[in-house]
Symmetry: C2
């Protein structure tokens, strides 16, 4: 078994890319021809939307495989269409993995104890069946995003007893404008009475502890952190608190962060950041000469993103 | 339109119950006869588990309708079985609502902006379709649990422009043992330099603000809070910070909290707490003379819970 953090590092080295392509389809991000085709075939149903999402993603995945470090489907986009949407998410994970891509499912789950175990089963498999054996796994993601608000009771349930079998990215500092309402709140530092730290800093220290004994050969843990590109100063500070943690970095491009912002949290060896972009890549057909070839438009946008990130890391 | 908080209050007054029955089925909580029947009919498939969950819930719902204030399916239990599980969740919501019950979907979702809007669509409907109109709603829950870690960007997206059309319960202080790792951390109080408050207190003040202009006739907002029964002192303090907030209170029974603990956060008029129990009610058949009548066992356990809570409130 290859540790999931080593797997990402290997893919980064092989492709020269630290990009993670967000597979976040929405009806208004689908090229008109695909939308009309599925509308004719399925009517205006959730099954039609789901079929369109899978076809859209399949062409994107074909075009970008080998040129990025991972893909990241956003569960909410699929969940909005109920059970057919869930099937489309699972099918997307399967298609991406068959194309050799690491899959981060962005679902930001968080509950307690046995309930979190059920979420783990939803994304990594292993739910009990009606008989003696386990039920068929709905999907087998490589990584999953999780929420820290409930503490170790939650995060711990998502880990596999074997470090590196799969991984989690725990929200530390998210990229949205109101993330500071809770995450920037100033707290007393338990270890140093005279110091103040933000909630995000405190969560970062938890993340480091949770992942400390779970490093792969590349020196990175299967307990990663979400650190938004829109707050580069925080990213640099959080790196000091989490030296061995892989950062999943949203916010590049459509949310306004630059490549320099996105790689601000990298380690001194240049490693440790996985930068995600969704609309900028999968929506590139909207700015292309031929909107029907949305895969080629995505590949071209990804190549530009890769160059942009490479220049910022140099 | 009746404001969702008034709807719960009316149901509490009518039934004399402040109980919320958790519909959290798991294969080992299914009576053996049901399990074997579905195994024969569907094999050891996710469809079989989903069919068993619906049949299990249907009998519970038939037995408890009119005797509790709400039901609360836990999304994780269903999600562990993929798309068939999601259909079972949606069907459970439908069956409960047809039986006249208020439905709280416990999914603890939390993301940012447009992504949270997709989660809202998953549980309340309104996702865009392939054509001009909206796609069919996967379900139409009455309430949903949400996570505060991303702030208003997240919570705000879950609210309907019309106050009271549906509601959210925002996690403030959860009932699990490790909830304090983040939630009990001591912060500086923005408004009073000399005071300290916990993260949960700070979140409570946010919740109060978010829900302030959204009260129903009963004086309760459609922005509620999750406050665990296992921390009664915190519940009393949080009530002072959130006078107009409906508390969803997990942790009674199986998690060890007493009825007195569970109602510790009630208002001075005795209102404002909805106490949930899952295993204690739906798993009551395991202690019953006739395990085949799991509905009757659940009803009996619920009656005992209602008496217990009524005595504690008196």
């Amino acid at each position: 078994m290859i540790h999931v953090a080593d797997r990402i590092q290997t893919d980064m080295d092989r492709t020269g890319s630290i990009a993670c392509v967000g597979l976040d389809p929405r009806p208004d991000l689908l090229p008109p021809s695909l939308r009309h085709q599925m509308l004719e075939r399925h009517g205006d149903t959730n099954e039609g939307v789901a079929a369109a999402f899978v076809e859209f993603n399949r062409r994107i995945i074909d075009a970008i495989a080998g040129r990025c470090a991972a893909v990241k489907p956003q569960a909410a986009c699929y969940e909005a269409y109920g059970a057919p949407g869930w099937d489309a998410l699972a099918e997307t994970v399967r298609i991406a993995q068959e194309a050799g891509l690491v899959v981060v499912v962005d679902a930001k789950r968080g509950d307690m104890g046995s309930t979190s175990a059920h979420y783990r089963q939803a994304f990594f498999g292993g739910a009990p069946g009606l008989g003696e054996g386990p039920a068929p796994a709905p999907m087998r993601a490589d990584w999953l995003t999780v929420n820290p608000y409930l503490g170790w009771d939650n995060v711990g349930e998502f880990l596999d007893p074997a470090p590196g079998r799969h991984g989690v990215f725990v929200l530390a500092k998210t990229s949205n404008a109101s993330s500071g309402e809770v995450q920037d709140r100033l707290c007393l530092d338990d270890d140093h009475a005279d110091r103040r730290e933000t909630v995000a800093d405190a969560v970062a220290r938890l993340i480091r502890g949770w992942g400390a004994d779970r490093l792969g050969d590349a020196g990175l843990s299967d307990v990663g952190a979400v650190v938004g590109a829109t707050y580069p100063d925080e990213a640099r500070r959080l790196r000091l608190l989490m030296p061995d943690t892989l950062f999943l970095v949203p916010g590049y491009g459509a949310q306004g962060a630059t490549a320099a912002d996105a790689v601000a949290g990298r380690r001194s060896d240049g490693r440790g950041v996985l930068v995600s972009s969704s609309r900028g890549v999968i929506g590139a057909w909207q700015r292309a000469a031929d909107p029907e070839d949305w895969g080629a438009a995505a590949r071209q946008a990804l190549d530009i993103m890769n160059d942009d990130l490479a220049a910022a890391r140099a």
